[in-house]
Amino acid sequence: MATYLEFIQQNEERDGVRFSWNVWPSSRLEATRMVVPLACLLTPLKERLDLPPVQYEPVLCSRPTCKAVLNPLCQVDYRAKLWACNFCFQRNQFPPAYAGISEVNQPAELMPQFSTIEYIVQRGPQTPLIFLYVVDTCLEEEDLQALKESLQMSLSLLPPDALVGLITFGRMVQVHELSCEGISKSYVFRGTKDLTAKQIQDMLGLSRPAVPMQQGRPLQTPEQPVISSRFLQPVHKIDMNLTDLLGELQRDPWPVTQGKRPLRSTGVALSIAVGLLEGTFPNTGARIMLFTGGPPTQGPGMVVGDELKTPIRSWHDIEKDNARFMKKATKHYETLANRSAANGHCIDIYACALDQTGLLEMKCCANLTGGHMVMGDSFNTSLFKQTFQRVFSKGYNGEFRMAFGANLDVKTSRELKIAGAIGPCMSLNAKGPCVSENELGIGGTSQWKICSLDPSTTLAIYFEVVNQHNAPIPQGGRGAVQFVTHYQHSSTQKRIRVTTIARNWADAQTQLQHIEAAFDQEAAAVLMARLGVYRAESEEGPDVLRWLDRQLIRLCQKFGQYNKDDPNSFRLSESFSLYPQFIFHLRRSPFLQVFNNSPDESSYYRHHFARQDLTQSLIMIQPILYAYSFHGPPEPVLLDSSSILPDRILLMDTFFQIVIYLGETIAQWQKAGYQDMPEYENFKHLLQAPLDDAQEILQTRFPMPRYIHTEHGGSQARFLLSKVNPSQTHNNLYAWGQESGAPILTDDVSLQVFMDHLKKLAVSSAS
């Protein structure tokens, strides 16, 4: 239905929210029968160029267990200057500043178009942002040089008031004291022994708790900040010295004998970084940026031994319980991640090596804190350099896109409870009337912490309808949810983004068609996918596929139109028509199929899947395919083997790769050199068109994708062939008669076969 699609899109643009269901089933029993849970994708800091922030404190409900923010859904008595909270129905007095409001003079937060509104608040001293570089020196000379240059370059991209620090590691860990005097000093730690936070602080001379740097407060004699800032100094003061210090960094001096890996003490290095920030700047926005060129091979958190003949664990090893170091290492990094997140500090991992670097064990550092995970082959590649530059990218208004220390608080009307969230966050264990006992994702709380986020960071939040069956919902009644995000803006201002949404309840027994029409299949696919990936990371792989299939069959049984036991009669309404296809592609995706990927690669893909917005997540599930030919303007085509034709150029975007594939005829023409002849200039344009379109994506996406330029018969064509639906394989080649499209050599099930099986199972009276 066109109207619901518009409704869905408008709401996403305004509020950054996409719900799986936009008309809500009014009882718990009916909601569970819907199969897809009531859930939403929320982009807390969605870019809103048209939303000027207001510079006053939000008005809160006075009930201590509620504290909802005044919003357009509240009933207001302008004469008595009272407002009724729409969540708990408490009547509240407006504060004195609101004395002048009236129906014709409303404050912004009451206007419907401000369902999403941002407040700038003054809360305590403005603490500077902190960037702590933790740098692996066990790199090849060329790589180390490239990394050093990238770090020097980054000093020009950091906010000038930010504090910056440096820890280098190899066999030992060195914490560098940054000073403007000539001699550079550092504290050296053994890489084999883990230390507690207190021990680290004692050894670095940070015994007393630090006072945050008071910038621009000359009257206060800062006795403590002088000590605590030895290791973290403002960029504008230290940039020259730090540039020199970085320039002088040498490779780890300990010799590496033949057949051995360098001794890399990543675990202790990170531990010291976390402890240093814990002791000096708790509860302020900070990034610990780990740059590593290989796996940790020494000390706590080691992932593999130093003998090259023992390879790093593969999925096969993990399945056979043959990964010696995995459990202990994962636990080490999980403890660090939890401590870091509790302090509001995020941990980024920039791993560039040809072999695995231990992302599987270290992933919690990035996933719990909202930090980045970047995986490349070498620091001397455009992929790393440009991705790293984009960490410091700015939006249209010239402000950094990165934000820190977010605290997301979700409130619901009483018919709903919160089951959990899936995304780059940590639970704050905030119990309350909104919290459900049934957990989906990170549950048992109505508040989560996201230490680092940007305008595209998206969380999946799952709800539970708790109304009893047959309990009445008032006619035209609506349920509501409010998302309140406190965060530190890159300018160090404290801000609060409030989004309040409402949707209609409906009785599923009499109004199922309304509920059906308001189903958002794209959001539902991504929400189910996140649940599936979450399960896959904690359970066995095949079980997740069985679960996913079961849910799909149940959904088709509930919402399909069919005659019992007659698969050919099966139909799905338009609002469900694409859903099975998404699930089909999801089942084949690297998020659920670990075959052909290393554990590190799977962790990397899953990391990005769990935080992107809906459009990008869908691209990851079902890549986009565009065709360029002489037969018309560029157009999207089915992700199917039949789309691979000789006289076409295909552009495929999987989010992680951009693939440009020249059909057989196009490739032959190119080899013959027609593009260089003036009378065939349009061929030259045809070759250029997909390159230009790819450029737009390459220029803005974080992380930067790989760029594959291939052609019919090329080995790299496998990236395209493995993603398209193999409607034509070597098995059914001659069944269609005239060939069109390229057959894929696979035994994988095609979408057609999948759909046939699905229909059979859905209509069967035996299920």
Binding site: M240, G247, S382, I624, N682, L691, W736
Partner: protein
């Protein structure tokens, strides 16, 4: 102004390394992160085999046969609108350019700015900047700096003289990003010099009187809770 160019990635160190965009190109695209290509083809009607698309009248080829020997040329056509999904100008490769700016044109104003700073800025810092300017001078004299770097340094110095601090800063950033291996040793000194000159008490002008407005663009906040009556229809 920063150049806009695209270089190929480092195929030796990273497989399928994406191309490298200059700082100017990235800054242009900054802000909007919408993927332009997001449409999907509608699914075929239920039951229709996708193996028979309504389609291009391409020569049917039996997969077992060799490619046709007489391959016809592509359809002819002179320059027309490029068939693009998105209309935008394509970026060229890095320009091969010449630069005849002398070292002194750039160094003299920088040293003058440094002298102006000596009164108020710490001695150590000034010496450090001075050292780096010498490194720049030597590198220039020995011909170690490429034409784009020299050209942009000339522009930077002009912006500095006109007190366009943000513009000078932006040029320094673009040089750091695009040519870090050439400039890293001394550019931080220039960066510091811009920052210190900007903070000097007024009274030190060098050239035209154009002054820069506030450093960071600030969104205009609404300060009154009871906002101006916005008579919008709810």
């Amino acid at each position: 102004m920063a150049e806009s160019y695209v270089k190929p990635g480092n195929q030796e160190r990273g497989w399928n390394d994406p191309p490298q965009f200059s700082y100017g190109l990235q800054a242009q695209a900054g802000g909007s992160r919408r993927t332009p290509l997001t449409r999907r083809a509608p699914p075929p009607p239920a039951g229709a085999p996708p193996g028979a698309p309504p389609g291009p009248p391409s020569a049917p080829a039996d997969p077992a046969a060799p490619p046709p020997r007489a391959l016809g040329p592509p359809p002819q056509g002179s320059a027309g609108a490029a068939p693009r999904a998105e209309a935008r100008p394509s970026a060229a490769g890095p320009e091969q350019e010449e630069c005849s700016v002398s070292a002194d044109t750039v160094l003299a104003p920088l040293r003058a700015a440094l002298d102006a700073c000596r009164a108020t800025v710490q001695k150590q810092v000034c010496n450090d900047i001075g050292r780096r300017l010498t490194v720049l001078e030597d590198a220039w004299a020995q011909g170690k700096l490429s034409a784009p770097v020299r050209k942009r340094m000339n522009l930077l110095v002009q912006e500095l003289q006109q007190q366009h601090w943000d513009a000078a800063d932006e040029i320094h950033r673009s040089l750091m990003v695009d040519h870090v291996n050439e400039v890293s040793q001394w550019m931080v000194g220039v960066k510091r010099l811009i920052a210190e000159t900007r903070d000097l008490p007024s009274g030190h002008t060098d050239g035209s009187a154009d002054t820069e407005p506030a450093t960071e663009p600030v969104t205009e906040p609404v300060t009154e809770p009871a906002a101006e009556p916005e008579q919008e229809e709810p």
